[in-house]
């Protein structure tokens, strides 16, 4: 059973089709240092929102705010149409059942095997062990790591860990996926494999996603490619078209510098932004 079927409010929200994520003048700081200042943006249903910006700009903090792992000092955050500040802890845990998150350093449980890591959410929901096994194999096949099922995180390479992390995030069939620098620290070939997986997941499930990246080529690959299920590979969108569901948000020093489409970003007149994407 999917989490959506268990929560009628989620099904009702999806039928309405409002913004999946909504930030209104959100600010947060740590020990007196502001990290995000008056950040406002929306992420529509089915949209792929790419977060760009220099390191230390508050992108990972923004991602944790969406998932309720941090609480803003000021402003309002709505996820699936509900204000996070009005939700109690149990409701936030229920909400997280609809969100999959891939952490910057994978954050796999190092004392659990790949199988137990991926199955974690389903085991917490007390799903039948046979169904868990089937679904674990299904998602590991999706990320191309079926053979690593018995291994422990310490035995995996950085790229493999990132793929297990993606498998763990998508096993609950979430409506919203958060990728925090999924290609960070990886070599170009492994990064391309990970981005191909992100495109595959986007085109197969149609889930809304937020993705942080430091590699512009990854961002533009997401905007210009699609996944061909018959050929089982990623390919450029024909006629040099651009995926209309891909939008960009650029942060610098905690402020939103840009919020718009791929074409708007590539044709920007802002000198700082031009230099940044050059």
């Amino acid at each position: 059973m999917t989490a959506t079927a268990e929560n009628p409010w989620m099904a009702e929200f999806l039928s309405r089709g409002g913004p999946m994520v909504e930030f209104e003048n959100v600010s947060i700081g740590f020990e007196g240092n502001p990290v995000l200042r008056d950040v406002s943006f929306q992420v529509a249903l089915g949209e792929t929102r790419i977060l760009l910006g220099p390191a230390g700009g508050g992108k990972s903090v923004l991602m944790k705010l969406v998932n309720g792992l941090l609480t803003p000092d000021r402003g309002q955050i709505r996820v699936f149409g509900r204000l996070l500040s009005e939700m109690n802890e149990d409701e936030i845990f229920q909400m997280r059942a609809h969100i999959g998150m891939v952490f910057q350093e994978s954050a796999l449980f190092d004392s659990l095997s790949v199988e137990d890591n991926v199955a974690y959410r389903l085991e917490e929901d007390h799903i039948d062990p046979r169904e868990i096994r089937e679904r674990v194999l299904e998602v590991l096949r999706f990320v191309g790591l079926e053979e690593a099922i018995e291994k422990f995180p310490a035995e995996l390479s950085g790229g493999m860990r990132r793929r297990v992390s993606i498998a763990r995030a998508i096993i609950g069939r979430p409506e919203l996926l958060l990728y925090d620098s999924p290609t960070g620290g990886l070599d170009p070939i492994t990064s391309s494999t990970i981005i191909e997986l992100v495109v595959k997941q986007r085109d197969v499930s149609g889930a809304t996603c937020l993705l942080i990246t430091h590699r512009l080529q990854d961002a533009f690959t997401l905007a210009t490619h699609r996944y061909n299920l018959r050929e089982n590979q990623m390919e450029p969108i024909p006629n040099h078209r651009i995926d209309p569901g891909t939008r960009f948000l650029v942060l610098n020093e905690g402020r939103v510098i840009f919020d718009g489409t791929t074409l708007e970003l590539t044709h920007t007149e802002d000198p700082w932004l031009r230099e940044f994407i050059a």
Partner: protein
């Protein structure tokens, strides 16, 4: 150079006490609501209880041995060597058994809890756990709390028995005392209040060991160095608190039972 601010220090101290109190309240409240992680409780019981058994047995036994030797030397001056059993039994059951067991388990398990949870914290595994819909306090702290309180209670009883056994060993084989007399004087000296005192103390020690270990683990920052610092601070705080609470409980028991 940063100037030391007494106000900021006082505020951080109050905030730490508040955080610790909230953690304890939530860890206890979780016992009475679902989901309960029974498998984690049994795993922790095995790790804390069975794992600590050798150090508790050895510490208890040799403490009893030393106590018998030392007390016999002084009691001999007054011609009261036959009271060795009474002294060893009372000291082990009322004081040394509970405190030494608490300190030994604190050294072994508070550090283990702080470093394990601290490592999970700095590698974002706790955030991942929250993101996957699990409350880390319910999954990690409550099972450790239940297991530690339960196991420290029984380990203290084992430590008391080993201590009395060690005292008897020295009394019989080194001081050439009568074994029957050793146990009889010890048994006759014990009162109901002494047993209650000896069994109440480990409940507090167990609570302190688990909550302090988990508290320092959960607030760990600063990578592997931070994990090391959290582990050291956890063991120091837990040991000091165990002795402090031992003093308060002893005072309370003297107030209740008059001895």
């Amino acid at each position: 150079m940063r100037i030391f601010s007494p106000e900021a220090y006082a505020k951080s101290l109050v905030a730490s006490v508040q955080e610790y109190s909230l953690l304890c309240a939530r860890a206890v409240a979780n016992i009475f609501s679902r989901p309960r992680y029974m498998a984690d409780i049994y795993t922790q019981m095995d790790s804390i209880g069975a794992g600590s058994l050798p150090i508790v047995v050895l510490t208890g036994f040799f403490t009893g041995c030393v106590l018998a030797l030392q007390s016999a030397v002084n009691l001999k001056v007054f011609g009261a060597v036959n009271m060795t059993g009474e002294l060893v039994t009372l000291a082990m059951i009322k004081e040394l058994g509970p405190v030494l067991t608490g300190l030994m388990i604190s050294g072994r398990n508070t550090s283990g809890m702080a470093s394990e949870i601290g490592s999970m914290n700095v590698t974002e595994q706790l955030d991942a756990m929250r993101a996957l819909g699990t409350d880390p306090i319910r999954k990690l702290v409550t099972p450790r709390l239940v297991a530690t309180v339960f196991m420290v209670f029984f380990l203290t009883i084992i430590s008391d028995a080993c201590g009395i056994g060690g005292g008897a060993f020295v009394a019989v084989y080194m001081l050439k005392l009568n074994a029957g007399q050793f146990f009889h004087t010890g048994y006759m000296a014990l009162e109901h209040g002494d047993i209650v005192e000896g069994l109440v103390k480990p409940l507090f020690s167990g609570f302190i060991i688990a909550t302090i270990g988990c508290y320092y683990g959960l607030r760990t920052t600063g990578g592997t160095r931070g994990v090391g610092q959290a582990t050291t601070q956890a063991v120091v705080s837990s040991s000091v608190l165990i002795i402090l609470v031992d003093f308060l409980v002893t005072q309370l028991m003297i107030g209740i039972f008059g001895r």
